[in-house]
């Protein structure tokens, strides 16, 4: 078997993992047990498939094994005898081996909703979603978040305990999906952002998490296809990830949009983003849709010079109306500088540099440094670069800023 076979198998395991957890949860009612059962099922596949051959329908095989073990677990648990009687109708519905097992899309959605339950803190929601829905190991999650594995394990254990203490039941609770959709989308976006531009890291990206985030967004669109916001998130993440291969140079340094090789942007992801954006446009023009529209402006522009900056300023105005944050205002200022020239953006940037939320972040100083440089105000640009370098934590961005400062200084000497 070859690499494509391995990729297909990984995809199959990833797709089945949340279904196995959900099936185990439905029968045993306990998240920890469900996770153990899914893990044992995977180990059974590792024992058998290489010797016996991969089954015709791997998903059905895994589900049958997992359900059988769940039933055995419930039967073996003497304290649960009474529960067996109440579960009988459910157990009797399990189809016999070999028969088509219907997909219970709703179960995966319930699982996501459970992991994003409001009783859990944000970081616990993210860790639990990555473990239970995306199937990442504690070690993988810890690597993604640059945190010790023991700390992540604790976070997951505490989250499970909290759910148990609050008696969050999987099979009986009717999760308020629409009411919880906002926090589900938030969790997925957090997962993506953590992978796309980590705050503190030697490298610029932690790709696995970013791609997991998009996978989760795709899963959500397949589970609630009628809701526009998941489509907006999927579009946004697809556009962002389409530039993945070109965001860093061979030395690991940051490459900005104007110097990226657009020929290497992932056309499949851009096409997926455009299709998802079409679906999202049927809904309200919320922050996610507007951000996806903005990302589409970049993804569909034939060159940096040909980017429709005027349309982007208009979109940022619209976004500011629904999400008035200094970060959005900062991004708008960048678009203004491109559309109307650097001088037009400086008053807004001067104001933003004094904003308490932004003043402690390197971003506002990096942006103002660039705009000052383009406006020919090199001394002001150098001072801003120095401030940005004092604050930046990501090493790849630090190298980029140091290089930009050096270039500004050299052009000042020449001029």
């Amino acid at each position: 078997m070859s690499e494509p076979a391995e990729a297909a198998l990984t995809a199959a395991f990833r797709a089945e993992w949340p279904r196995l957890i959900a099936a185990g949860l439905r029968i045993t009612g306990d998240l920890q047990t469900a996770e153990d059962l899914a893990q044992e099922t995977l180990l059974a596949a590792l024992d058998r498939w290489p010797l016996q051959g991969i089954p015709d329908r791997p998903g059905a095989w895994l589900m049958t094994v997992c359900r059988n073990r769940a039933r055995n677990f419930v039967r073996d648990d003497s304290r649960a005898q009474q529960r067996i009687a109440s579960l009988r109708p459910l157990l009797d519905r399990v189809p016999p081996e070999g028969r088509e097992i219907p997909e219970i899309a709703d179960d995966r959605l319930r699982l996501i909703a459970m992991c994003c339950h409001p009783v859990l803190a944000d970081d616990a929601q993210v860790a639990l979603t990555l473990r239970m829905v995306a199937g990442l190991t504690t070690e993988e999650i810890a690597r993604g978040f640059n945190a010790p594995a023991a700390a992540i394990a604790q976070r997951i254990v505490r989250a499970k305990r909290t759910l148990r203490e609050h008696r969050v039941a999987f099979a009986t609770d009717e999760p308020d999906i629409r009411g919880r959709l906002a926090s589900i989308l938030d969790v997925i976006y957090l997962v993506f952002n953590e992978g796309y531009l980590p705050a503190e890291s030697d490298s610029l990206t932690r790709g696995d998490l970013a791609f997991e985030g998009r996978q989760l967004a795709c899963l959500l669109t397949s589970l609630v296809p009628g809701e526009p916001e998941p489509w907006a998130l999927r579009a946004l993440l697809s556009f962002q990830l389409s530039r993945w291969a070109t965001r860093t140079g061979p030395d690991g340094g940051l490459l900005t949009l104007d110097v990226q090789d657009r020929g290497r942007w992932d056309r499949k992801l851009i096409a997926d983003g455009i299709a998802a954006l079409e679906r999202a446009r049927g809904g309200p023009r919320g922050p996610l849709l507007l951000q996806a529209e903005l990302a589409a402006c970049h993804a569909t522009a034939p060159s940096f010079a040909a980017t429709d900056w005027g349309a982007m300023v208009a979109l940022y105005d619209e976004l500011l109306a629904v999400q008035d944050t200094p970060v959005v205002a900062l991004n708008r200022a960048v678009a203004v500088a491109m559309a109307a020239g650097p001088e037009a953006a400086l008053p807004a940037l001067d104001e933003l540099a004094r904003h308490p939320v932004l003043a402690g972040s390197h971003r506002v100083w990096a942006v103002r440094a660039d705009v000052n440089r383009r406006a020919g105000r090199t001394a002001a640009a150098l001072a801003d670069y120095d401030r940005a370098l004092e604050l930046v934590k990501n090493q790849a961005e630090r190298r980029y800023l140091a290089r930009a400062r050096q270039q500004a200084e050299e052009s000042e000497k020449k001029g």
Partner: protein, 95 residues
């Protein structure tokens, strides 16, 4: 050539299995068994029915001597993650 029984038990602390790593292991182990079959060295295999059984799988293989069987066991351990024990099969039909 002598027949040997290789018995594979799960190594301690198997812990969580990464999905990508699991797929890699299936592919690698399948390839390894494929070669063993092609060379006529894999005579038969057995898998545990009981999910809690200590021994996960057994292989009956042909090898020229004990050292060759040990090498096969080492290879199997690498691709399967099992701890592998080697037993020489004696008696009628062992050779």
């Amino acid at each position: 050539m002598t027949r040997f029984l290789l018995a594979g038990t799960r190594a301690d602390g198997a812990g969580e299995v990464a999905l990508g790593a699991a797929a890699h292991r299936v592919v690698e182990a399948s390839t390894w068994y494929g070669w063993l079959r092609r060379w006529g060295l894999l005579l038969s295999f057995g898998l545990a029915r009981d999910p809690a059984a200590e021994v996960r799988a057994c292989l009956v293989v042909l090898a020229s001597d004990e050292r060759a069987a040990e090498r096969l066991a080492e290879g199997w351990g690498t691709v399967s993650g099992y701890r592998v024990a080697v037993l020489t099969l004696t008696g009628e039909g062992a050779r």
